[in-house]
């Protein structure tokens, strides 16, 4: 995976991939969805910076434009990338929980 190429957009990219995991969405729908599931308000500059990188990576692909809105969907490579990121986050989360529990023990 080439996640290092996502640069400062890696967080936004992960949010976009997560948002697209339950079906294709256009830009504004992604912003709304992301705000709903994690409370982060992505601005359009960051959103499209991340979209262009994800598209270049081949992790998402554009569908046919509908009334000036272009929906995007995950590619099979994107699904693999998202799975890997989720697994990493779960591991980090597990380690964090364990260490917090140890900390709380004192």
């Amino acid at each position: 995976m080439r996640s290092n190429e996502l640069g400062r957009f890696s967080d936004a990219s992960f949010l976009i991939l997560s948002s697209l995991a339950n079906g294709p969405k256009h830009g504004y729908a992604m912003m709304e969805d992301i705000k709903l599931f994690c409370g982060t308000q992505l601005e359009p500059g960051t959103l499209y910076g991340a979209i262009s990188r994800l598209e270049k990576q081949g992790w998402i692909e554009a569908l046919v434009t509908e009334e000036r809105r272009r929906p995007y969907r995950l590619t099979s490579e994107g699904i693999i990338a998202l799975r890997e990121q989720v697994a990493t986050l779960e591991q980090v989360s597990m380690v964090g929980k364990k260490r917090l529990a140890t900390l709380e023990g004192f």
Binding site: G7, R8, H26, G27, Y28, M31, E43, P44, G45, T46, L47, Y48, G49, I51, S52, E55, K56, G58, T65, R68, R69, R70
Partner: protein, 288 residues
């Protein structure tokens, strides 16, 4: 907010501007949005080249298709020029034309269709050539500029030798001089064609620039096919009904048959070039 998007690179805007404007129409604009767009524009200018592998592949196909059609049209042009001598000497042709008026009609039609193709060639080709040279001067691309200089030199040399021959009026060895002139012209033509092909092939184009070549390409191809069919019918009819027309000043039917063969080869290569340059994604891009 449209003005802010102008800060993004042109390639980026061609791809994302419309949909981003739609998002901005729905989004509440805050100072944070403006700042974010400025950062985005800065980032896009540094990192976005607009060419995914797929687009790059598509551009290569379209560009090589254009070069193929250009070379094929030049080849076709040689054959077409040979056929233009069919009415030489004019009085003989006019006399036969009174008996077979369809000869004149077909001969004129071949000229007109070929000329329309030539116009389409200029309309489609000159802007592409201009973009290549302008971009090469701007970016100081020496490999493109050197090819351009070779092409211009060929054109200038051809003009100079033609003017010299027109002014000189040689009295002796006229046949040898004419053969020499023709051979030199052919050499300059070949070198010029190769040089122009290199100019086009070495330039990085945007898809939006190349899509305007699509319609002229169709007209060129149609013209080549139509004039080839007309020429074949005309030569066949003349062979059957008025073979004396082939005995012109200094040539025979061989020249016209050679012309048709050259036109056929040019048309076949042009069809291959057109098929090569017409990729599915490019058609979709044009429709959008």
């Amino acid at each position: 907010m449209r003005w802010l998007l102008k800060l993004y690179p042109r390639v980026w805007r061609e791809r994302y501007e419309d949909e981003m404007l739609t998002v901005l129409e729905d989004h509440k604009i805050t100072p944070s949005t403006v700042f974010d767009l400025l950062l985005g524009a800065l980032d896009a200018n540094f990192h976005y080249n607009g060419f995914t592998e797929e687009i790059s592949f598509m551009l290569d196909r379209v560009r090589s298709g254009i070069v193929m059609i250009f070379c094929s049209f030049m080849l076709y042009g040689i054959g077409w020029s040979l056929l233009q001598r069919l009415n030489d000497p004019i009085p003989d042709f006019q006399m036969i034309n009174t008996i077979h008026p369809e000869f004149g009609v077909m001969h004129n039609a071949i000229f007109i269709v070929g000329f329309i193709s030539f116009l389409a060639f200029l309309i489609g080709g000159l802007p592409i050539f201009y973009i290549s040279v302008r971009r090469a001067y701007r970016d100081r691309k020496q490999n493109v500029l050197s090819s351009f200089r070779v092409a211009v030199s060929c054109l200038l040399l051809f003009a100079i030798i033609t003017v010299i021959l027109a002014i000189w009026h040689p009295q002796a060895h006229i046949y040898n001089i004419l053969i020499g002139y023709l051979l030199l012209s052919a050499l300059l033509l070949v070198v010029g064609i190769v040089a122009v092909s290199f100019v086009i092939a070495r330039t990085e184009f945007q898809l939006s620039e190349l899509k305007f070549v699509y319609i002229p390409e169709i007209i060129i191809l149609f013209g080549m096919l139509a004039s080839l069919v007309l020429s074949t019918i005309l030569i066949t009819r003349i062979t059957a009904n008025a073979p004396q027309l082939f005995i012109t000043q200094d040539v025979s039917s061989t020249m016209f048959i050679t012309g048709i063969i050259i036109m056929s080869l040019g048309t076949i290569f042009a069809v291959i070039g057109f098929k090569r340059g017409t990729v599915v994604q490019f058609e979709q891009f044009i429709q959008e």
